[in-house]
């Protein structure tokens, strides 16, 4: 699938934003005004930048308003409705939190739950697609949720530490745990993906054309000699070497370096805030690589019609 920057940025940032929202909602925030403002603005900002960037992905954004209409059947519509609801509820909670110095627990918990469900619905936009066997698994929501939690925790820990709030350390410890869990889930996702080829999913060129029952099928001539929308969007091919390199970046920046930095921050109380900030930035960079691969390595059944992505084992686990 085409790794569109807007969608990569959207899923990464909104995950972290909603992650932070749910943590704030359940009362894990600090007390200082600076912290509160920064945390709320960042949570909101990440979510809203993410959402805006997803709107930028639309070809006719003027009609985006209709996207709230089909929540009964469409995960994308649900995501839209839920993100607005979440932003609304969290907004109300934040008003009280910022201006009245009150943490309305029920509202916060509602916002937290909504944020989690929003991230879940984002993930379901992908996980529902039988056409993309890599994505069509419960592991996809698990990955999105786990990364949302890890990202949120890291951001929260960083903020607490920067503003000298209490609880930075335990939150950082939780972040460590979440990071490990998220990457374990992601590893499981990757391992499954490595086995999940179009052919294995029954969407190889033979089934796509139905000609498999005559013999071995090979694409001979494409319908058009220049690439078209479908090929650009659905038959994106990433080089094996490039994928491996990016996977190393994802793991290095997304987990190895952050783990190291967070451990340092937790156990060597020097420059904690800076270390956590660095870890966060590194994590986000890793996440962007992870998301890029999430799209770039995923194969859509349509690729089969073009004879692309038919070989087994192209997607390397590590």
């Amino acid at each position: 699938m085409h790794p569109a920057l807007s969608v990569i940025v959207f899923t990464t940032l909104s995950g972290i934003g909603f992650g932070l929202m749910s943590l704030l909602g359940i009362g894990l925030g600090g007390d200082g005004l600076a912290f509160r403002w920064t945390a709320v603005v960042l949570a909101y900002g990440f979510a809203v930048i993410g959402l805006l960037s997803s709107v930028a992905h639309l070809k006719s954004p003027g009609r985006a308003i209709y996207a709230f209409s089909q929540w009964r059947s469409s995960w994308l519509s649900r995501e839209g409705v839920l993100s607005i609801l979440t932003l609304g509820v969290f907004g109300l909670w934040a008003l009280a939190y910022l201006f009245m110095d009150r943490n309305i627990g029920a509202l916060g918990i509602l916002a937290a739950v909504l944020a989690v469900v929003t991230v879940y619905s984002t993930s379901m936009v992908y996980a529902q697609l039988r056409t993309v066997p890599h994505w069509a698994t419960w592991l996809t929501p698990a990955v999105f949720l786990a990364f949302g939690a890890a990202g949120g925790l890291m951001l929260l820990a960083t903020l607490l530490s920067v503003f000298g709030e209490e609880g930075a350390r335990p939150v950082a410890q939780f972040a460590l745990l979440a990071l490990v869990i998220a990457w374990v889930v992601k590893a499981a996702w990757w391992q499954r993906a490595a086995k999940t080829t179009l052919v294995a999913a029954g969407s190889g060129i033979g089934e796509a054309t139905g000609l498999g029952r005559i013999g071995r099928v090979r694409a001979f001539e494409p319908p058009h000699t220049s690439p078209n929308y479908l090929m650009r969007e659905m038959a994106f091919e990433v080089g094996r070497k490039r994928a491996r390199a990016l996977r190393r970046v994802a793991i290095g920046a997304g987990v190895v370096l952050p783990l190291f930095l967070v451990i340092l921050a937790v156990y060597l109380p020097i420059a904690t805030a800076a270390l956590l900030l660095l870890a966060l930035v590194s994590h986000i960079a890793g996440m962007l690589a992870e998301r890029w691969l999430f799209f770039a390595e995923a194969r859509h059944a349509v690729a089969s019609f073009y004879g692309i992505g038919q070989a087994d084992g192209d997607v390397a686990f590590l």
Binding site: S60, F68, Q70, S77, E221, N228, E233, A301
Partner: protein
């Protein structure tokens, strides 16, 4: 109308006969031509005369090389357009309600006035039947020529999709699959019409007919040797045989 109708009164669609499709692209261009002037925004072409010409097409013709076990490889031409699935995932994923399936005849359409161009329906379609129009910013797909098949301005015999009307090899047939006696239903029954990627669970309405097995000998094979009965294996033999043949003329 993102939910699918429970049932449709009719199931209109196409049968594509891969046994006679010569891969001429006539259907693809006729489709482009009709739909450029008809339903919705024109089908645009970007970089039309430049380095990467890339336009919106609702029907594209592929060619495949198929190698049977012990026979030489063969080429199969394969047109691909929307199959008007009964369980159309493109419809249910659509957040705006732009995509819908008509309850009257099962045609899957995009209401371009509502489409925000998110592209999700194209992701949901296993068959590559949806293409984003880069100029108009809306999703396009085969309309089954809904503005031809009921059109009073068109003579009755021409109220068929443009691609069907034009196919020089008569490889495309249009009809109602809900009616077991329709020509298309019978064709599918007789020739074992099949679904593309059935495991996707989309229950396509359109059906494909397999190329007939390539034969090496005539069906009436035993008759072939018949002439050996008077086989004049040598020139002399031929001339003797000629005598009899000429005598028969008198």
């Amino acid at each position: 109308m993102t939910t699918l109708p429970q049932t449709t009164n009719r199931k209109l669609g196409l049968v594509i006969d891969l046994d006679v499709c010569v891969g001429c692209h006539a259907c693809a261009v006729a489709c482009k031509e009709w739909n450029t002037g008809a339903y919705g925004a024109p089908l645009s072409d970007m970089d039309a005369y430049g380095a990467e010409p890339s336009g919106t097409w609702l029907n594209r013709v592929h060619s495949y090389e198929v190698k049977p076990e012990d026979k030489p490889a063969q080429i199969v031409h394969f047109p691909r357009s929307c199959l008007h699935c009964e369980d159309a995932p493109c419809v249910t994923v659509c957040p705006t309600g732009a995509s819908y399936k008509r309850s009257e005849d099962g045609i899957v359409l995009v209401n371009e006035d509502r489409c925000m161009g998110c592209g999700l329906c194209a992701w949901a379609c296993p068959y590559g039947a949806r293409e984003m129009d880069m100029d108009a910013g809306v999703m396009k797909k085969c309309t089954l020529c809904v503005d031809r098949i009921y059109n009073d301005h068109i003579p009755q015999e021409d109220r068929v999709p443009s691609c069907v009307r034009t196919c020089p090899a008569n490889a495309r047939h249009f009809g109602d699959f809900a009616d077991p006696d329709s020509a298309v239903s019978r064709m599918v029954a007789e020739r074992g019409g099949y679904d593309l990627m059935p495991e996707q669970g989309t229950r396509p309405v359109n059906k494909y007919l397999q190329p007939r097995p390539k034969v090496d000998a005539m069906p009436a094979g035993e008759g072939c040797g018949k002439h050996d009965a008077h086989a004049p294996a040598t020139p002399g033999g031929l001339l003797g045989w000629l005598d009899r043949a000429l005598a028969a003329l008198d």
